[in-house]
Amino acid sequence: MNKIFFIAKKELLTYFKSPIAYIILIIAIAIFNIFFFMIVDQNREASLKDVFQVMEFMFVFLAPLLTMGVFSEEKSTGTMEFLMTAPLTNTAIVLGKYLGVLFFFSIMLSMTFVYYGIIEYFGTPDRLTTLTGYLGVWLEGAFFLAIGVMTSSWTRSQIVSAMTSYVILFLIYFSISFTKYFSGSAEIIIRQISTWSHLENFAVGIITIGDLVYYLNGIFICIVLTRLSIENRLWR
């Protein structure tokens, strides 16, 4: 159990030792700031609802950048051999790495708490809605990162890993746009697969079991698949 945290700690350390982490942090926060200003300036309401939407959209692009190296880099440099011959279970390796990435993402997200401070100072925002909104954004980010970690475990190349997760993320994020071409149960399935249909509720302050199950299941499936692909020795 401890070892999961050791791996997570190492993963986090690796992020902050490389310039990529800072570049992603700075660019993401800068873009969020710009949109926060534009949205508040235009809507003139004390709500982060639209800001959350922008964040969610940005995560589609950010998550693969954060996760592309998680496993593929270890494989290409040979450090995977180091991890796999240390007394670690495969589950500990996968969970440790995922937690490390998730923690980095949480740090990034927590930097946007200042927006809440600003709207709280100038207006009277609905606290609960903001809270559930953050939960939704965090869950979506966590799901996207799990997908990124999974694709990273499939390949030695960071580029291939990032491209694969872009394809998957685009599919599940934008699939709602295709619902008009389908009808019946196919339409319902496509609507349910899309993250769009699950985010809306969080942003207006509703937490439903269905939405929670969607994200938690998604994360769980990705982690299980990651573990399977680590166990699969084909790439060694």
Partner: protein, 249 residues
């Protein structure tokens, strides 16, 4: 310490190891010899449980590697051919991480860290980022990582590749110092090195063990038609040419 029975390993249709069986007892230093692609690294990877064998059993210190891989990994220190280093970490951070995931108790971690830094002469670079170190230093960080948890069995895949003669000597000394406490398996292309440290030699050719002999016996028996003792190099060449002649006939 190690007992292997009939290990075979296939990669697709390619058979990397055929019926490899041997025993290594505690405290021995054994050298794996063979040409490139003979199967040395594959065999080492199976012994470290990194790769599963296609068939056959490996028992290490009384445990079956297929059943208790985690307990066995605690007892093994492994240096792969390319040292597995996180190049953006500092030497100290990296070794600390190695100690953490290799079950070194938290109250002994710092002591072990200092010990391997001293043994591998890394004190001067402990706060440097690994990526800027020279190859010799990187190799020694790799060795430090392998011995930090005081394993009973040390498996070193070409531990001296890329080292200058002085470093080479130091690494050999290090391995010799280790032998009182543990069993060492190493592979190398530099035969004179094996002559100096190993007590026993396994020559692997095309996935099969063709010689399993203590070094003294090997060098003595091979000189039946010559008055002087052979060098290991001559023995090695002899075995490899003999076999290819047989094949031509």
């Amino acid at each position: 310490m190690i007992t292997t029975k009939n290990i075979t390993k296939h990669f697709g249709s390619f058979q990397a190891l055929k019926d490899v069986s041997f025993e290594i007892s505690k405290g021995e230093i054994v050298g794996f010899l063979g040409q490139n692609g003979a199967g040395k690294t594959t065999l080492m990877r199976i012994l470290t449980s990194y790769l599963p064998a296609s068939s056959g059993t490996v028992m290490i210190d009384g445990d079956d590697i297929a059943k208790n891989p985690l307990t066995i990994r605690q007892k093994i220190g492994y240096l792969p051919e390319t040292p597995p280093l996180y190049t953006n970490m500092t030497v100290k951070d990296y070794l600390k991480f190695a100690a953490e995931i290799k079950d070194v108790p938290s109250n002994q971690r710092l002591r072990q860290l200092d010990k391997v830094l001293e043994e591998c002469q890394l004190e001067g670079v402990k706060n440097k980022t690994i990526s800027i170190l020279s190859k010799g230093y990187k190799q020694r960080v790799g060795i430090a990582q392998a011995i930090i948890h005081e394993p009973k069995l040390l498996i070193l895949d070409e531990p001296t590749s890329g080292l200058d003669p002085i470093q080479n000597l130091q690494v050999r000394k290090l391995i010799k110092n280790l032998k009182d406490q543990r069993t060492v398996i190493l592979s190398t292309h530099i035969l004179s090195e094996i002559e100096q440290i190993a007590q026993r030699v396994l020559i692997i050719k095309s996935g099969q063990i063709i010689v399993d002999e203590s070094l003294d016996v090997l060098l003595k028996t091979s000189d039946a038609d010559q008055s002087r003792e052979l060098t290991l190099e001559e023995v090695f060449v002899k075995y490899h040419s003999e076999q290819s002649e047989e094949r031509h006939e």
